[in-house]
């Protein structure tokens, strides 16, 4: 999947992540250079929304990574899991920019705002801080419709980053 360019970069990122990850971030699996799984936790205990919760992220890399952003979603169930699959093996954090199917609306992950100097670690840290700063126990306004009708992949959705404050 990934090009040699992307592979070279991901190799280096992986060596770094295997040696050490920032607090609250755990590398779960990186079996190849197209899909990695990481867990994140919110470290701020004063935020009741995310206490004692661990969220699983799936990074999918294209051949153009890191020129183009990776696709990042919160996983809702384990891949190749139970059959029939159990809904919500993993929790999806409550946040006005996170849909209940795990799709994240964050400008950093959009082509326009993405910079190739970002990496897996910095995206995890950004998501951590996005959650930490949030006190609203709510989903995006059109969550129900979006989750029901969305058949597209996150990269093909043009999000409107209407609210920069959250």
């Amino acid at each position: 999947m990934a090009s040699s360019f992307a592979v070279k970069r991901l190799q280096r990122e992986l060596i770094k992540l295997q040696a050490q990850t920032p607090p609250g971030i755990t590398l779960i699996s990186a079996n190849d250079f197209s899909e990695w799984h990481l867990d994140i936790r919110v470290l701020d205990d004063t935020n009741p929304l995310y206490t004692n919760q661990t969220y699983r992220l799936r990074f999918t890399f294209s051949a153009t990574y890191p020129i183009e952003p990776p696709e990042v979603v919160f996983l809702t169930r384990a891949p190749n899991g139970a059959d029939p699959p159990v809904l919500n093996d993993y929790p999806v954090p409550m946040h006005p920019h996170v849909y209940s199917n795990g799709i994240i609306c964050l400008d950093l992950l959009d082509k326009q705002a993405w910079s190739p100097v970002h990496n897996v670690e910095s995206v995890c840290i950004s998501l951590q801080s996005m959650l930490t700063g949030n006190r609203k126990n709510e989903r995006p306004p059109n969550d129900a419709d979006f989750v029901r009708s969305n058949m597209r992949r996150p990269r093909d959705i043009s999000f409107l980053f209407h609210d920069e404050k959250v």
């Binding site: 070279k8 183009e68 100097v117």
Partner: protein, 515 residues
């Protein structure tokens, strides 16, 4: 070569045109200029070629070379005013969306802010672009090979040159960006300048890059638009503004042969104004007509309001859902019918009157729509067939040349006839959309007469056109006459509607019921 002449004569008026681009137009020179292109190649249209008709608008076709030169000229003018290099001036102009006055004014007001905004700020280091460094780690590929060739623009965010190239390459190919590519560093708004781009863009992409740069010029100017025909590289300049579109239908003719509306880029839709076209097209595509069909062909159960289509059988209806029994004819309760089964004579009963009224109204509006739609669709279909006719015409022309020993120039009347047919059908088609929205007043009758005359002229010519090849030669004069007549009728109709539109003498239904 004819096109060469056109080009040269167009060049001589370039300076005027440039002024127009920059400073807007005055209405005075609108009428002075004449138009020859529209009918210029058509021998039978000579009568109309000399003067501008009132439905025609002033426009000019720009070749890619014209666009390039106009940009260069503007850059050269502005660079002296601003005291900047041509590269920097180009960036500034693209930043200000090619608005010279606005740029100069803002630049004089607050030079630093404009430079910063355009990504040319002086705040950071100005070290050389390419440097070979030891002990450097590229933040994109995380490579730290020593020594490494690196690259940075003025902001000083340095990356290895391969990553920089890959980044720029991806922006140009995948995102079609050229003039506003930012430094790859996070949150850095510095724009990669022209000179750096020339260095970074690989040879196989330079053409694409320059094309994209040129595009910003046309994209940013309100009075320039790309010809929407596939693979056409020309742009059209026309001064009709968006707010005038209710009164003018600015149809332009590109040198590639494509006729389109400058206002909405839709195919030639004379005489209907853009907003009617948009409404009409939507109406025809919309499934609002499905709803219309439903209301004309179905009734609702008087009790549970389920929609029911009666597709045969007697008037005694039993609703499948609520088991309510009623009469299809009068919508009244079935039990009240007594013994007069299968023959409802209760028409005057109040219980069904209201339902029937609603039905009648909907049916009437549907029929009115269908009247116009069928005629519109018919001409659209015929216009499509015109494409086949055109191919046949060419064949006929060759046949005639062999068969009757006619020269190429002597068979051109067939080509003219075919073109006239296509053009007139296109116009006729839109007259029906126009008429659908047209509110009835004194002028409607004149419009309808014009429409009828054109339609008859077109059908007469069309009939002639389908005659077998061996008869065509004898009908040459008749055909030429009828072609000229068609063109004349079209111009009369278009001039009439254009005049009335300009003077707001036509009124249109605001809803599409036409009642």
């Amino acid at each position: 070569m004819e096109s060469e002449d056109d080009f040269n004569s167009a060049r001589s008026t370039d300076d005027e045109m440039m002024d127009d681009v920059e400073s807007g137009y005055s209405d005075d020179d609108f009428d002075d200029l004449e138009i020859g292109e529209e009918e210029g190649f058509d021998a039978h249209d000579k009568i109309t070629a000399t003067q501008k008709q009132s439905y025609e608008v002033e426009f000019k076709v720009w070749t890619p070379k014209d666009i390039d030169e106009a940009q260069l000229r503007l850059i050269n003018e502005v660079k002296d005013v601003l005291g900047q290099s041509p590269e920097a001036t180009a960036i500034l102009l693209r930043y200000s969306r090619w608005n010279r006055e606005k740029l100069i004014e803002q630049y004089m007001d607050n030079q630093a802010a404009v430079l910063e905004g355009a990504g040319l700020g002086e705040s950071n280091s100005t070290e050389a672009r390419v440097q070979t460094l030891t002990g450097f780690t590229c933040d994109i590929c995380c490579d730290d090979t020593s020594p490494m060739t690196t690259f940075a623009i003025k902001c000083g965010h340095r990356f290895c040159i391969d990553c920089y190239k890959t980044y720029v390459n991806a922006k140009v190919t995948d995102e079609a960006e050229a003039a506003r590519i930012k430094c790859p560093a996070d949150q850095c708004n510095r724009i990669v300048d022209n000179k750096s781009m020339e260095l970074l863009v690989p040879d196989n992409l330079t053409d694409r890059y320059h094309e994209l740069l040129v595009r910003t010029y046309v994209d940013d100017l309100e009075n320039l638009k790309w010809c929407p025909a596939p693979n056409c590289e020309f742009a059209i300049q026309c001064k009709v503004k968006a707010k005038e579109l209710k009164k003018v239908v600015p149809t332009v003719h590109c040198d590639c042969g494509h006729d389109f509306c400058f206002g909405c880029a839709y195919n030639d839709h004379l005489p209907a104004p853009c907003d009617l076209v948009k409404k009409w097209v939507k109406k025809c595509e919309d499934d609002s007509e499905t709803a219309n069909w439903i209301s004309a062909n179905t009734k609702e159960c008087p009790k549970c309001a389920s929609t029911i289509e009666k597709n045969g059988g007697c008037n005694h209806m039993t609703c499948r859902k609520c088991k309510h029994e009623f009469c299809w004819m009068c919508m009244g309760v079935w039990s009240e019918h007594g013994t007069s089964w299968y023959n409802c004579n209760r028409f005057e009963e109040k219980s069904g009157t209201e339902a029937r009224d609603a039905q009648a109204k909907s049916r009437q509006s549907l029929e009115r729509y269908l009247h116009y739609y069928n005629r519109y669709a018919n001409h659209e279909q015929s216009a499509k067939l015109d494409k086949d006719i055109y191919v046949k015409t060419e064949k006929k022309m060759t046949q005639l040349q062999n068969h009757a020993q006619l020269s190429w120039i002597e068979v051109q009347f067939l080509d003219s006839a075919s073109k006239a047919l296509q053009r007139c059908r296109q116009t006729l088609k839109w007259t029906y959309a126009f008429a659908f929205y047209l509110e009835r007043n004194n002028l409607t009758e004149i419009f309808e007469d014009n429409q009828k005359d054109l339609e008859m002229a077109v059908e007469n010519l069309s009939e002639l056109f389908e005659k077998p090849t061996d008869q065509l030669e004898k009908m040459k004069v008749e055909m030429m006459d009828k072609t000229a007549y068609c063109n004349k009728r079209r111009i009369i109709l278009l001039n009439d509607t254009a005049d009335n539109l300009r003077k707001s003498r036509h009124a249109f239904w605001s809803n599409d019921l036409g009642a």
